[in-house]
């Protein structure tokens, strides 16, 4: 059985869905960041798969930019978590709910 591009696209769609659902149902901020990473990396698989299929280099180049952006996002996210944990130990997303209305 040959592994065609479609398989990669399905794989990335599944990973993306896992990430999206995980972000919505998990309550630990760190796990939520991991879910965002999973979503971004799922997109990377799509880019690489399509780039290979089309024999076009710009899909692969896009992956580099996405990786950089993902790294930067995690830096900012972790800084926020550290700042929140300084004020409040072991906070989950449910505890962080001063703002509502």
């Amino acid at each position: 059985m040959e592994v065609s591009t479609d398989w990669y696209l399905v794989l990335s769609a599944v990973l993306f869905a896992i990430g999206a659902v995980g972000l919505l149902i998990r309550r630990n901020p760190l796990v939520m960041f991991m879910c965002v990473e999973l979503m971004l990396n799922a997109v990377n698989i799509t880019f690489v798969a399509i780039g290979t299929e089309l024999n076009d280099v710009s899909g692969q180049i896009a992956v580099f930019f996405v990786l950089v952006v993902a790294a930067v996002e995690v830096v900012v996210g972790l800084a926020l978590v550290v700042a929140i944990n300084r004020r409040r130990q072991g906070a989950t997303a449910d505890d962080i709910s001063v703002l509502r209305g």
């Binding site: 799509t46 926020l80 001063v98 703002l99 209305g101």
Partner: protein
């Protein structure tokens, strides 16, 4: 496997540096400020005052020099020829001296003054670029022969990846002005909250640089990079007041939902890439015009994902859930920037992608935007009524304004884009003014932001009450303010596109929110303030920002012609 991949030769893109000036000014300004501040933490008071005062003339000279570099000519050369050279240069020196005096009288900090200067220089660069390339109305025969572009087409600034056209320049100018007014509001706020430091200003300039990348992007990846530069800086700014739990919570919520939406946007880009084989907006357009897709499911999924991602950024219902919490928790001047520059950049990107590349598929995306617009208009105006907090209320009202802009977007006509440009320009100043007043009223720690705290504002500071009244009336769309003309334009565009029901819903939403704004105006004038409520004093820098927003709102409300002309010239990139 590897041997089969033939890589095309690498081509160095042509870089037109003058078109990059507005962007580079902001980015270089941010880098210079953070480098300077990491070396010089604290300056002696006299020295600080001296270099702050020097920022005034430096800004004027910077504007003059950048204007000359971008325009390839001595700026204001016509004026110089009219009044003779000595008089002109004496006048220039007089302006330099006056600007120094002006900065001194504002009692503004060095970082804020520097940011205001950088924002002004960037704004002047967009104006000069506009005058150079996009004055289709009065192009003469000689200009056309000399190569001026009558259609106001894009300047390819960086190959075909990044190009400024009239549309991008208008939004770039708006973002630069948003930087100027936000920096003026920051100055008093940061001192009041004891958060002095250059970080906020650096992030402000970086974020605006990202916004400028975004509005001129001709490539989906460049668009994504601009969007992320813009957003990540704003996530940090929202959480900057780290002693307040609310600010941290706002930052985290904004961050998580922002990252979530970026992932959707990116997945949409990947889908479009898969369907069309290119990430370049112009190549995508050419491909879609030349090809009939047998199976366009992938492209349509791409549209949907792009709309989800951009819908989050512009806070369209049902992707609006973060807006009230973030607007309430984040520092008020940061909210002013978010609601003006970030929202404008988001709409610029939305219009750019869907009008530049996918206009041939208008029948596919129009109904979706129609539905988004209806939901956004109704939910935004109805939920705004039940709020008890002024910032939360303005958050819902900004959602409803996003609905109005979507009414213009869904028209899929030139008039639709022109109305989007007009609405974005009008709303930028209305919202900066509104949040500027709230910044001053809310007092230390942003505590007094409930609507009850606005009761009897007239007795505590009549000028502020008057300014807030004008901004609220403008948002309600009362004639003689820009808000009225803006609402008129979007509804007119919807009627032109034969979306009558949408136009009616927009009018109903306008009436519902007008009720809300008038209630606040009444409570400011008729309500009674607490006995111990003290009069409010406004620091000069914030006053300048509020007064400027007020003048623009009333001025262009009475004479909307210039902005209307600007909006109509700006859209030539899409129609001409």
């Amino acid at each position: 496997m590897l041997a089969q991949v033939t890589s095309p030769p690498v081509q160095t893109p042509d870089v037109v540096w003058s078109a990059l000036t507005p962007l580079m000014t902001l980015a270089v300004g941010a880098i210079l400020l953070i480098m300077f501040r990491s070396i010089v933490k604290r300056m002696p008071a006299e020295f600080d005052a001296a270099i702050t005062t020097a920022i005034g003339p430096a800004t004027v000279l910077g504007m003059w020099i950048v204007g000359g570099l971008v325009g390839n000519d001595v700026p204001l050369a016509d004026l110089r020829d009219d009044v003779s050279e000595p008089v002109f240069y004496i006048g220039l020196i007089a302006v330099l001296v006056l600007s120094a005096g002006f900065v001194r009288s504002m009692r503004i900090g060095f970082d804020a003054a520097f940011t205001v200067g950088v924002g002004l220089v960037s704004f002047v660069a967009t104006v000069v670029l506009w005058q150079q390339h996009f004055r289709p109305a009065d192009l003469s025969e000689a200009d056309l022969l000399a190569g001026a572009n009558p259609g106001g087409g894009p300047i390819a600034a960086f190959g075909t990846q990044y190009g400024l056209d009239g549309f991008a320049l208008v939004f770039g100018g708006l973002i630069a002005l948003a930087v100027v007014s936000s920096a003026l509001l920051f100055d008093g706020y940061l001192r009041r909250e004891r958060l002095e430091g250059a970080e906020m200003y650096v992030l402000l300039m970086l974020s605006a640089a990202g916004g400028l990348v975004m509005v001129g992007a001709n490539d989906l990846i460049v668009l994504f990079l601009g969007l992320e530069t813009l957003s990540i800086a704003v996530y940090v700014m929202a959480a900057m007041h780290s002693r307040r739990t609310e600010a941290l919570e706002a930052g985290l919520k904004y961050f998580v939902l922002g990252a979530f939406s970026s992932a959707f946007l990116l997945y949409g880009m990947a889908m479009v890439y898969g369907a069309t084989g290119s990430l370049n907006l112009l190549e995508i357009r050419a491909y879609l015009e030349a090809t009939i897709l047998i199976d366009d499911a992938m492209l349509l999924i791409g549209f949907g994902m792009l709309l989800v991602g951009l819908g989050f950024k512009v806070a369209a219902v049902p992707f609006h859930a973060w807006t009230p919490d973030v607007y309430q928790g984040a520092p008020t001047p940061v909210v002013a920037f978010m609601a003006s520059a970030v929202k404008a950049a988001g709409f610029a990107a939305l219009v750019r992608v869907f009008y530049l590349s996918f206009i041939g598929f208008a029948e596919d995306w129009q109904p979706v935007i129609y539905a988004l617009a209806v939901a956004t208009l109704l939910l935004g105006s109805l939920l705004a009524i039940v709020q008890r907090d002024a910032k939360r209320m303005l958050a819902y009202s900004s959602i409803s304004h996003a609905g109005f802009i979507l009414v213009g977007v869904q028209a899929a006509t030139g008039r639709g884009v022109a109305s989007v440009v007009f609405y974005a320009a009008a709303y930028t100043f209305l919202v900066i003014g509104s949040f500027g007043v709230l910044t001053v009223v809310s007092g230390e720690g942003d505590r007094a932001t409930s609507l009850d705290d606005l009761n009897g504002l007239n007795r505590r500071n009549p000028a502020l009450a008057f300014a807030f009244t004008i901004f609220l009336l403008g948002q309600a769309g009362v004639p003689l303010t820009t808000g009225f003309v803006a609402k008129f334009e979007v509804i007119g565009a919807a009627v032109d596109a034969r979306s009558f029901w949408l136009a009616i819903i927009a009018m109903i939403a306008a009436v519902v929110s007008a009720f809300l704004y008038l209630r606040i105006v009444l409570s400011m004038y008729l309500g009674s303030a607490d006995e111990e409520a003290e009069p409010i004093s406004v620091n000069p820098a914030a006053a300048v920002a509020i007064v400027a927003a007020l003048l623009l709102t009333i001025g262009f409300g009475v004479v909307p012609g210039p902005i209307d002309q600007l909006a109509n010239d700006a859209i030539l990139a899409f129609t001409g």
